[in-house]
Every structure is written in structure tokens, then in C-alpha cells.
């Protein structure tokens, strides 16, 4: 009916008839035909989308004259550059419900894929029913691509009155009735949707005619097919007529298997508008166009055609062959289209298919495997055809390869050579007057698939690299060391003779990026031999050192295989729109001091090599950071978030509202940390802490205030304090002794700071009060400048501090003061006593300690301190107190002198330390009250860009951590000189403590300690890089005296020093 009306209006002139017609349903657009297509744009005759209101459907007609057939879309002759498009992530199969996903998901997938189709020149996609009308409209309006809506007509089974029937019996009346009902509903719902181009019926239903019925099976076998086909195509014919009755704007096409049963089609589908076929005849469809024209006399459109991209003979991808087949097939379509002197009935085709279907072979198995098994054979593709073998690989028909899914199930595609070739081919307007057969052959003949292979292979390579980069070797490090040591006048006789030892240690790190926003890495350390005689007895990687144990039979056994393999470091990050989660194990993290943590509950934890030296499993934990509605929320949780932390959870809510910033933090220890490794980091008793903080700026003035409640778990615990008094006193000690217990007031504290910024003058004043058990952490933030003297983070004190910094050109002068006093001072030792005459027992008093008392006096000891910081920095852009300044500093010369003097009128309570055997103990007392000072001078010279010298000079008067009363006055220098790849590190220390905490705990000093380390690296060494490829030599030398711990005087020369020395060679290989 439609066809006849179009024929009636055709006016045969020299110009194409459609170009001169003007009816309500067709418009003339011939004026654009002569314009050459601009580069990278679709052919000019491609239909341009225009927004259409609901109820304003496109008018799509077929047209025929003696030159052939046309498809007119709103009057514009339109070649169907079609694509069998579907969205099917790897790992899914036919049950995947793309249209059931969220709108955001669908939109993102469509925008990525359809825009590629559009760039190629595709103007139609084929979709089965199930696509919502709004997405047909979206695809059209956003991307200018039409949709052919395909009802399968029971091809893969159908639901009939609640029963799934497969294969369907097309002779069944109820089945036919249901089909009609479905079609009627479908057409009514979609016929006015902008973007709908035509209706399509079935998909090779002629290949599925194998239902069983007595009526048919009684017939001779050669007649059974025709009978079944009659039922099928008569249904098609009925459906076509019903659609025409409901919708006069869209033609109907059937998707037949090749030209099977074409006589039956001619008989039963007299009103079909377009004949469609799935055709796999290789490079040419030969007589197909003539047969269809002769039998049906309607336009022809491939509903599927193309080639796979896999060479089944050579078992490898062959996208060039695919491109070549498609080139020839499209050339034939052009040649057989309107006006080229051939049959003239080709109106286009729908390439099969857009992207590879990884599910197709076996369909329910190996869904994430790109199967290379060919599942059917045809000699029409002779390049990989072998008689008796399959050569068609169903999973490789995409003209785009498919990438792996991301975490949301979206994927990328990588267009093959055919995509780029056809993109060029489609620039040729098939209906332009200049497009002759010669022109067609010329254009297509010039297209060589090899010219397009590089782009595909590059993108494919990129995709493979991306995939490989999901898991990569992140670290490979090998340490080889030798130690030669000796000594003299030692009380460890076996250390005196020259000895040799060696160490091997290897690190292998793997990083994984399973999806965007997710990253994880892990490094494993494997030990070879571990040296046991370096002169620093607690040495790099204590693991693997032989240990003697007693077995169940009481015999001593030496274990040498302890912890030879260990998870050395690990971390992960997972970030999405709602949160970010970071995890770390033996990897550092920063503090929260600049985001509301006024009391230092979450300190910085960058320990570098210290975790190796003490074999510490710290820091270890997970940090959750909220976003969107959870913005401002952070939760840290873990077994040891920082060194010495108990298993704990710290939650923080930090926001800025208006001019104010504020935070709430709560820390709840879950259990007591079981072990301690070094005296400087003894786990605190399990506790809980809460803080509140607010801050605001008024011009140059900033106010910060905070409150803390901590240690409520210690409420009711008893403690002792003392009061100095005149006689008579407790056991004639000079003190009254008082008993008390922790109360609520002792858990509270507050702190306030005012900072004034009048560049170049800065000033701050800070005051704080902490109840006896209101312990928190240190102040990790940089306040104005890098003063070393700060208020203690412990409870039991009040403090006032104030400092100013004045910038005078390149110089900074920064004095700082601190007044700090414990609420309850340290205890003195008073021996207990028993008077047998009266039967009275006088309990003794011992200095408090961290193990047995609810609070103690250590860093919070009474202090009247003065600090003067002088600095010279001509390049303030490389801030000299930045953590990486040593690496970044670019001035020729910078210097910083820091002097502190502290008056301590009283002593401290007892320190806690770790014994050689590994248990924690408290000293009996503490070093006495003394005034202490320190001075250090840091200088940096950048002689050239590749030559730097960093040096520290220092001196100081200090005390032992333990109870030894000897004052230590020490001097020294240390630093590093770098010249290109050569690095020298050194130190010379006089009367200083040894390298580890226990030297200071027990007040063990050396008259002289020297070190010189020279290394040559593969590249210019990074200051902070722990590992790099280099080789080096290190020498250590020490003198020992009676304060050095291992010293044993020579009876023949009692004034002689002891000696220890070590020569270390090392090779470090690192990537």
C-alpha cells in the first residue's frame, strides 16, 4: 500500500524522482547532495537528527522506480548503515539485562558506544524488544541514530499463558493469538517514539522450524519444512498487515535466514515492505539481489552480514580479513543500490556485529574466556576454510574487540580495522549523482585494510597493557652485605678477634589495580643468611637470627629458620563517590593535625627504617574517609595505627561552617597492646579519649580552642602524691605522703592558642590544662616555624607557651618560651618500714611508672624553657621546614640554628624500658633534677645542581632515660655529601649515646663514634629513597670507656680505651 502510493508520485526526470517530489510525507533535500563531505564527518546525505515532540514520529517510506529502491526517512533517501548492537560485558550471557540497569549506567554505556558508532557513520542499530522507549529517543536525540525494533516472533521460545514453550509451534492458534496481542501492544506503545525507523520481525526463524506435531510428521519428510514454513510466514504476513493497520509511518522488514522459503514468503507476506536476510555468503552475495527482486520486488536489507575476525586455520586473530570481507560486502551493497544500473534494490545492511560476544560459544560456560573454537563451517570465507573443519568463530564477529569490565560492569571497546575502513567508505554518498559504479569501485578499491591496522593494534596493545598493569611488579630489591668486625678491651671476648659475616635480603613487591579507584600492593621479604656479629647488636632485620631454645626433651636446639619469609609491607586504597578507604601495614601515614586533631590523637607514623631495626609490625590499620553526605567523617581502625598504639578505633568529624572550623574526635582502645619493642614507644594503658575543637580567624588573628576528656577508664584508681614539708614528715623523708584516687575532674583538659599573622611578624600564645589522666598525643603540626620545644601531650600538667618569629629579609629570628608544670609532681623513693614495738607498718613510696600507675611524670616534667631559632633562607619557596626540604632545597646556602635551654627544678617518675630478653620493666627511679640544653646548626650547601652538602653540628647536655644520675655533655657532627651519583654520609660523635634507645635508657655513651659511608648509585640518589641501585662501603669505629657498657679495662693499661670497628660492604639492586 505504501509502496504503491510512492510509485504514484514518482516523476521520472533526469534528476532522481525523489528529489523532485514533495508530499506530506517526503521532503526534498537534494540541495545538499553536491557538497563534499568534510573530513571526519558523516556523509552529507546522512540523516540529521532533529528534536521531535512525542507523537511526532518519523515518516519512513520505501520508494521504487526504474532505477531501483530507496528508503526515505522524512523524505530523505537514506542508506541503512546499520549495526547489530548490544551491550554485553565479558562474563555475562543472554540473561544479562542491560536495560534493567540504572539510568546512569545505561547513559554512560550508551554515550561511550553510540558515539563511536556515530563517528563511524552508523545511522541505525538493531534492537530486540525490551529496549525502553525513552532510550530509543535518547539514542536518536543525543547521537542521531535510529533504532530498528525487532520482535523475534517466538524465535527463541515464548511465554504462552504462563508456560514457556520452545520451540514454538507456529501452527498453534493460541500461539499466533499471543503474538498478535504482543505486536499490537508493541506498535501502539512505540509507533510515535522519535528515533524509531522500522519494525523487524523474527531472526532466522526459518532455521527454527522443528516443532513436532502429528499433522506434520505424517507428511513426507521433504514436505515437512514447507508446511512448517507456511505456518511461519503466514503468521508473518498477518503481523505485517496488523502493523500496517496500526502504523502507517514505519515499514516492516523480516529478518530471514538468507533467502530460505522465499517462495513461501512471496506467497504469504505479500505486503512486506523490506526483505531482510541474515547472509553469510562471504565476499559476495552473488544472485541474492536478483532473486529477491524477482521473487518479492521489494527493497533488500541485510539484517546480519559480515565476517568473524579470527583465522581458524592459523588460530589467531585476523581483523584484516574481516575488514576485507566487509569492504567487499559494502561495495556490493553500494553497487546494488538505487541508480547504479544493477538490481538497485539494496538499501543497506546491519553489520553483524558491533563487539565480540564472549558468551556465544557454549553460552553458559567460559563466559570470561574469549573462546577460539570455530562452531560452524562455510566455504564462503575461504581464507581460513579447510574442508571438514569449522572456520566461523562466533565469539569473534565484532568489528570492535571488547575490553575487560571495570568495577561497575562497564567496559571499553577497541575498534578493529574494519571500523576505520568502513568509516572511510561510508563517506561516499551512494545516492550522489557523482557516485557512479566506477567511483564506487575506485573508492572501495583504494581502501586497504592494512592502512587501518595500526590504529586497532595500538588501541588493542594499550588495552593489553592496561590489563597487564592491573597486576605488576612494583618492587624488586636485593641487598647483599658483608661485615668484617673486630674490637679490643671488650667484655664479650668473642667479639674481639676479626670476624666475617654476611647478609642477603630480597624484596618482591606486587601491585594490583583490579579496577579504577582500587589499588593494592604487597611486598614480601625473604632472608638468606643473617649476620649476627655487627657491632650494633640490635640490627637491621632481627628476624632470622639464630635462637637457642630447649625442646621438649630438654635439649638445646638452635633455630635458624625463624621468620625467613615475611610480609614486609602492604597497603591498599579504594575510592569511589561515597568514600575512600586506605589500609596500611608497615607503611607510613600522616597526622590529622591540620584537620581538627588539636590534641594529636592520630599522630604521624613515618618510621622508615626503624620498623626494620626493631622488626615492628607498625603502623597497621585502615582509614575510612567519607564523601558527599559523609564528608568530614574519618574513621581509623587497626591493630597498631601508630607505634605503641593499642588496637583502637579513632573517629573524627571535622567540618568548616561559615568562618568556623570544628571537630569532634573519639578514640576507643579495644584491647591492650601486648608487646613493646623499644623503650621510646611503650604501649599506653588501654584507654579512651574524646576531644572537641573549634577555630576561627579574624583577619590576622586566629583562635583555636579545644577540650579533652580522656582516661575515664582509670576513674577510681588509687595514686600517691607527696608534699614537701618541714619536719615531722613521713618516715623523716621531708615529705608528707597523700593517698588519693582518680576522679572525673582528672580526666578533663583544655587548650587554647591564639596566633597572630602580621607578615613578616608572627606570634602565638598557647595555654593548656590537662587533668591527671587526660593523656593525648604530641603536637604534630607546624606552628609558625619549626620550634622543637612544645607542650607535652601527656596529662597531669598545665602549661603556657609563647613564641614569635620575625622575618628580616632572608633571616628569621624566632624566640620561644615554655612554662610547664605537672599537677602532681614526681614521687621520690621512700623505703617502707615496720616498727615491731608498735606493730605499725609504714608503706614505702616508689616513683610512679607507666606500668603500674594511672599517671606519671615524664615529658610533662616541670620545665621553664627558652628556645631561640635563627634561620637563613634566601629561597622561601622551598620552605626549609617542609618534610622534603632536604630533597627540594635550591638555595646555594641555608642555615638554621636552634638553641634550647630547659630548667627542670624537679626530677621525673621512673621510665619504662625493654630488657634484652624482651620483657618490659620500670626503672627504680629517675635521673635527678638538672638544667639541660641543646644546640644544633643545620647547613645546606648546593654547590651545583648535582652537588649538595648537608651538615649538622650539635651539642647538648642531657640525661639518661633511666635512673643513672650522670649528666652527658655531647658534641658531634653528621651529614651527607652528594656529587651526582656519589654519596658520602658520615658522623663524628663525642661522648654521645649509642645508636638505639637502650643506650640512653642505661646512660651508655662512647668517647668517640665515627661512621663513613660512601656509595655510588645508578642514578642520582633520592634523599628519602630507602632502596636504590648502588654499591657502597661503610666503616664504623668506636672507642669505649667505663660508660660504654661492653668495656673491659686492660689490667696492663687501665687507661686504654676499648675499641669496636666494622667494615661493611653492600650492593643494593632495586627497581
Amino acid at each position: 500500500m505504501i509502496r504503491s502510493s510512492l510509485v504514484a508520485i514518482a516523476i521520472l526526470t533526469s534528476a532522481p524522482a525523489w528529489a523532485q517530489s514533495s508530499t506530506s510525507s517526503t521532503t526534498t533535500t537534494a540541495s545538499v547532495a553536491a557538497r563534499p563531505p568534510p573530513a571526519e564527518s558523516p556523509p552529507v546525505r546522512r540523516f540529521q537528527p532533529t528534536p521531535r515532540a512525542e507523537g511526532a514520529p518519523h515518516v519512513v517510506k520505501t520508494y521504487r522506480d526504474e532505477r531501483g529502491h530507496l528508503l526515505l526517512v522524512d523524505g530523505v533517501p537514506t542508506m541503512v548503515y546499520g549495526m547489530n548492537w548490544g551491550y554485553m560485558p565479558i562474563g555475562e550471557n543472554y540473561s544479562y539485562d542491560f536495560w534493567g540497569k540504572s539510568d546512569d549506567f545505561i547513559r554512560e554505556a550508551l554515550d561511550a558506544e553510540i558515539s563511536l558508532l556515530r563517528k563511524m557513520g552508523i545511522n541505525v542499530i538493531r534492537q530486540y524488544i525490551g529496549i525502553p522507549a525513552k532510550w530509543i529517543r535518547y539514542i536518536y536525540e543525543k547521537h542521531g541514530i535510529f533504532t530498528v525494533l525487532n520482535h523475534p516472533i517466538g524465535r527463541y521460545g515464548m511465554n504462552i499463558d504462563g508456560v514457556w514453550v520452545s520451540p514454538v509451534d507456529y501452527s498453534d492458534e493460541r500461539m499466533r493469538e499471543v503474538i498478535h496481542e504482543e505486536i499490537d501492544a508493541l506498535v501502539r506503545k512505540y509507533k510515535d517514539v522519535p528515533g524509531l525507523m522500522m519494525w523487524m520481525l523474527g531472526n532466522e526463524n526459518n532455521y527454527g522450524l522443528y516443532w513436532k506435531s502429528t499433522e506434520i510428521e505424517d507428511l513426507p519428510e521433504e514436505q515437512q519444512g514447507d508446511i512448517r514454513a507456511k505456518y511461519l510466514y503466514s503468521l508473518f504476513g498477518e503481523v505485517i498487515d496488523r502493523i500496517h493497520n496500526l502504523d502507517s509511518n514505519h515499514p516492516v522488514v523480516i529478518a530471514n535466514g538468507d533467502v530460505g522459503f522465499i517462495d513461501v514468503i512471496a506467497e504469504e507476506c505479500k505486503n512486506v515492505d523490506i526483505m531482510g536476510s541474515n547472509v553469510y555468503r562471504g565476499a559476495s552475495s552473488r544472485d541474492l539481489f536478483e532473486v529477491i527482486e524477482k521473487k518479492l520486488g521489494v527493497p533488500f536489507m541485510y539484517t546480519e552480514f559480515g565476517s568473524d575476525a579470527f583465522d581458524a586455520k592459523r588460530m589467531r586473530e585476523d581483523h584484516l580479513a574481516q575488514a576485507e570481507y566487509l569492504r567487499l560486502q559494502w561495495q556490493e551493497i553500494y553497487e546494488q543500490s538505487y541508480g547504479h544500473g544493477n538490481v538497485g534494490n539494496a538499501i543497506g545492511g546491519m553489520i553483524f556485529q558491533w563487539s565480540d560476544g564472549w558468551w556465544k560459544y557454549k553460552q553458559t560456560e567460559n563466559l570470561d574466556v574469549h573462546d577460539e573454537t570455530a562452531s560452524w563451517a562455510t566455504g564462503a570465507y575461504p581464507h581460513d576454510y579447510v574442508e571438514g573443519q569449522n572456520n566461523m568463530n562466533e565469539e569473534w564477529f565484532g568489528i570492535a574487540a571488547k575490553g575487560r569490565n571495570d568495577e561497575r560492569g562497564l567496559y571499553e571497546v577497541y575498534p578493529r580495522s574494519a571500523y576505520y575502513l568502513l568509516r572511510e567508505a561510508f563517506r561516499l554518498d551512494p545516492y550522489a549523482p557523482s557516485t557512479t559504479n566506477e567511483r564506487i569501485r575506485e573508492v572501495f578499491g583504494a581502501l586497504d585494510p592494512k592502512d587501518f591496522q595500526a590504529r586497532y593494534e595500538a588501541t588493542q596493545l594499550r588495552s593489553k597493557i592496561d590489563f597487564l598493569e592491573r597486576v605488576r611488579l612494583s618492587q624488586l630489591r636485593l641487598d647483599l652485605m658483608t661485615f668484617t668486625t673486630g674490637g679490643k678491651n671488650l667484655n664479650i671476648d668473642e667479639r674481639e678477634p676479626r670476624r666475617f659475616d654476611h647478609l642477603q635480603s630480597a624484596y618482591v613487591g606486587i601491585e594490583a589495580r583490579p579496577a579504577s579507584g582500587v589499588r593494592a600492593d604487597a611486598t614480601v621479604n625473604v632472608l638468606g643468611n643473617v649476620a649476627v656479629n655487627p657491632i650494633d647488636e640490635i640490627y637491621f632485620e632481627r628476624r632470622g637470627i639464630p635462637e637457642e631454645v630447649r625442646n621438649t626433651a630438654g635439649e638445646e636446639v638452635v633455630l635458624t629458620s625463624l621468620e625467613r619469609v615475611k610480609l614486609y609491607q602492604a597497603s591498599f586504597e579504594w575510592e569511589n563517590d561515597w568514600f575512600a578507604v586506605e589500609g596500611y601495614y608497615r607503611k607510613g601515614h600522616y597526622h590529622w593535625g591540620y584537620e581538627g586533631d588539636f590534641f594529636g590523637l592520630y599522630p604521624e607514623a613515618n618510621y622508615e627504617q626503624a620498623v626494620d631495626q626493631f622488626n615492628a609490625d607498625t603502623p597497621s590499620g585502615v582509614v575510612f574517609t567519607g564523601k558527599k553526605a559523609l564528608d568530614g567523617l574519618k574513621i581509623a581502625f587497626g591493630p597498631q595505627l601508630y607505634w605503641g598504639a593499642n588496637p583502637t578505633v579513632i573517629s573524627k568529624y571535622y567540618r568548616t561552617i561559615g568562618d568556623w572550623e570544628f571537630s569532634l574526635i573519639h578514640q576507643e582502645d579495644i584491647a591492650q597492646q601486648a608487646s613493646a619493642l623499644t623503650s621510646s614507644i611503650i604501649p599506653q594503658p588501654r584507654t579512651r579519649k574524646s576531644t572537641i575543637y573549634a577555630a576561627r580567624e579574624w583577619g590576622p588573628l586566629k583562635l583555636q580552642v579545644g577540650g579533652i576528656m580522656a582516661g575515664t577508664d582509670r576513674l577510681g584508681r588509687r595514686y600517691v602524691s607527696i608534699e614537701e614539708a618541714a619536719e615531722p614528715t613521713y618516715l623523716e623523708s621531708g615529705y608528707y605522703v597523700l593517698d588519693d584516687e582518680i576522679e572525673l575532674i582528672d580526666t578533663l583538659g583544655a587548650k587554647a592558642r591564639v596566633t597572630l599573622n602580621l607578615n613578616p611578624f608572627y606570634w602565638y600564645v598557647q595555654g593548656g590544662y590537662r587533668g591527671l589522666v587526660a593523656d593525648a598525643g604530641g603536637d604534630w603540626s607546624l606552628n609558625i616555624t619549626n620550634w622543637s620545644m612544645k607542650e607535652s601531650g601527656q596529662g597531669n600538667h598545665w602549661a603556657v607557651s609563647s613564641g614569635a618569629a620575625m622575618y628580616l629579609g632572608d633571616f628569621v629570628v624566632a624566640p620561644n618560651f615554655l612554662f610547664q608544670k605537672p599537677l602532681e609532681g614526681p614521687l621520690v623513693q621512700i623505703e617502707d618500714a615496720f616498727d615491731p614495738n608498735t606493730g605499725t607498718y609504714y608503706r614505702g613510696v616508689l616513683p610512679r611508672n607507666q606500668l603500674n600507675d594511672p599517671f606519671w611524670v615524664r615529658s610533662n616534667r616541670e620545665t621553664y624553657g627558652f628556645e631561640l631559632l635563627l634561620a637563613f633562607d634566601p629561597t622561601p619557596d622551598t620552605f626549609m621546614w617542609a618534610w622534603d626540604n632536604l630533597q627540594r632545597e635550591n638555595a646555594f646556602f641555608t642555615a638554621a640554628l636552634d638553641f634550647t635551654y630547659k630548667v627542670h627544678p624537679t626530677s621525673q617518675d621512673a621510665a619504662v624500658a625493654v630488657a634484652q630478653e624482651g620483657f618490659v620493666f620500670a626503672f627504680a627511679g629517675a635521673a635527678p633534677a638538672r638544667n639541660l640544653w641543646d644546640v644544633s646548626l643545620r647547613t645546606i650547601f648546593n654547590f651545583r645542581s648535582d652537588m649538595q652538602w648537608v651538615n649538622w653540628l650539635y651539642s647538648g647536655r642531657g640525661q639518661a632515660n633511666g635512673d643513672d644520675d650522670r649528666l652527658v655533655v655531647r658534641y658531634g657532627t653528621y651529614g651527607r655529601f652528594r656529587w651526582d651519583q656519589f654519596v658520602a654520609q658520615y658522623h663524628v660523635r663525642l661522648h654521645d649515646w649509642g645508636p638505639f634507645d637502650y643506650y640512653r635508657d642505661f646512660n651508655l655513651t662512647f668517647p668517640l663514634q665515627t661512621l663513613l659511608d660512601m656509595s655510588y648509585a645508578l642514578q642520582t640518589p633520592d634523599w628519602f629513597a630507602i632502596s636504590q641501585t648502588r654499591l657502597g662501603l661503610r666503616g664504623k669505629f668506636r672507642l669505649l670507656d667505663e660508660n660504654s657498657g661492653r668495656f673491659q679495662a686492660d689490667p696492663d693499661d687501665p687507661d686504654a680505651f676499648g675499641q669496636e670497628w666494622e667494615v661493611l660492604t653492600y650492593v643494593q639492586i632495586s627497581i
Binding site: I657, I745, D832, G839, Y841
Partner: protein, 207 residues
């Protein structure tokens, strides 16, 4: 309007001031305390027996938080009364395990029993506790010694512990035997591993 939200910031000092102003328990000046009248109260079947530390949880123990001096503990042993002596030495045992602390804790338990310083219903428990404490000397500190008042002459503790068990009508466990040394003095030894000529030492009948 926003400003009113931040009035809460100023609440904290107010709360602190309020709490500070509350009536607090005053500190108590410490004086000596008479302990000779201290009564022993049976508390637990392991109190004073290594490795138990329940004595540190006993509210009747006056030495829980008191560092007992090296001299004072012997003053308490001799003049502090049986109960105070036990608590003192049991506390020392709980905070520093050694044979001497175990032995004297057992000794004071035995003295409590002999002196009938517990109600009759607890007497048998105390006897058994004393036996367990002496047995702990044999089991856990078999080589321990104590010293005379000069601090120079050591006395092994296993033998008096063995004898004390026998005196308390107990039976030493763990293959211990009481034998005589070459001078005829009794000495407790383990049956296994004793390498003393039988011609010199005759084993006593311990059946």
C-alpha cells in the same frame, strides 16, 4: 543564627569549671597502720601459691600497692604477725617469683594454721593451702636457697619444705625423697638423677 550553634564551644570550659567546683574527695595524708592485729581471711585456694597472683586482688591484703623493702620483709616475717607476714611474702611472690618468697609465704600460712588464726571451718583449707605452697617450692623452685642473717650462708629450701609438708600430714609429690647426707643431715632430693653412693646414703622409708 549560625553563631548560636557555636555557643557549645564555650560550654566545655563551663562544664570543667562546674566539675572542678564539685565537692571532691579530699586527699588523705598517709600515716602508718597497725598490722599486727590483722586477721587472715581465707580468700582463694591458690592464694600464696605460685603462679597465682590472686593475693593482689585480696582486699584484706595491706601490701597490694606497697613496695616492700628488702629489710622490712624480714621485719614483717618475724614481728608482723602471721597474717601480715603471709600477705607481705605472698605479695612479694606474686610480683617477683622466687623460692624464698614462696617458702616464707608457705611458712606463714603454716603458722596461721598452727596458731588456729582462722575459723574452724577454714582450718582444713588453710592446712591444704600451706601444703600446696610448700609443694610449690619443690615443684617450681627446687634449687632455691635462703640465707642466714649475715646474708652469706645459704640454706636450701627444698628440705625444710619437704619436712613441712610431712609435718602438716601431707605427702610430698613429684618423686621427692628425704635422704641423709654424709653428715647424717636430712636432705630432700628427687628420686631420679640422684648420684650418691648407696654405701654412704641410705634412703629413708617414705612409704
Amino acid at each position: 543564627m549560625c553563631r548560636s550553634r557555636f555557643d557549645a564551644v564555650w560550654l566545655l570550659p563551663a562544664v570543667i569549671a562546674l566539675l572542678a567546683g564539685c565537692e571532691l574527695d579530699p586527699q588523705r595524708y598517709r600515716y602508718g597502720e597497725n598490722i599486727t592485729g590483722l586477721q587472715f581471711e581465707y580468700f582463694d585456694e591458690t592464694e600464696g601459691v605460685h603462679p597465682s597472683q590472686v593475693v593482689l586482688l585480696n582486699p584484706n591484703n595491706p601490701f597490694v600497692e606497697a613496695p616492700i623493702g628488702a629489710e622490712t620483709k624480714f621485719d614483717l616475717l618475724t614481728g608482723g604477725g602471721n597474717a601480715a607476714g603471709f600477705y607481705a611474702w605472698a605479695t612479694l611472690l606474686a610480683t617477683g617469683a622466687n623460692g624464698e618468697n614462696q617458702f616464707y609465704a608457705a611458712t606463714k600460712l603454716r603458722d596461721v594454721y598452727y596458731a588456729n588464726e582462722v575459723p574452724p571451718e577454714d582450718s582444713e583449707k588453710v592446712r591444704l593451702l600451706a601444703i600446696a605452697a610448700f609443694q610449690s617450692v619443690l615443684d617450681n623452685f627446687p634449687d632455691s636457697v635462703t640465707f642466714d642473717a649475715s646474708g652469706t650462708i645459704p640454706f636450701p629450701l627444698a628440705t625444710p619444705a619437704f619436712q613441712a609438708i610431712v609435718d602438716l600430714n601431707g605427702r610430698p609429690e613429684g618423686d621427692w625423697a628425704l635422704v641423709q647426707d654424709v653428715n647424717g643431715n636430712p636432705v630432700a632430693v628427687k628420686r631420679a638423677g640422684v648420684d650418691i653412693p648407696r654405701t654412704v646414703v641410705e634412703e629413708e622409708d617414705d612409704s
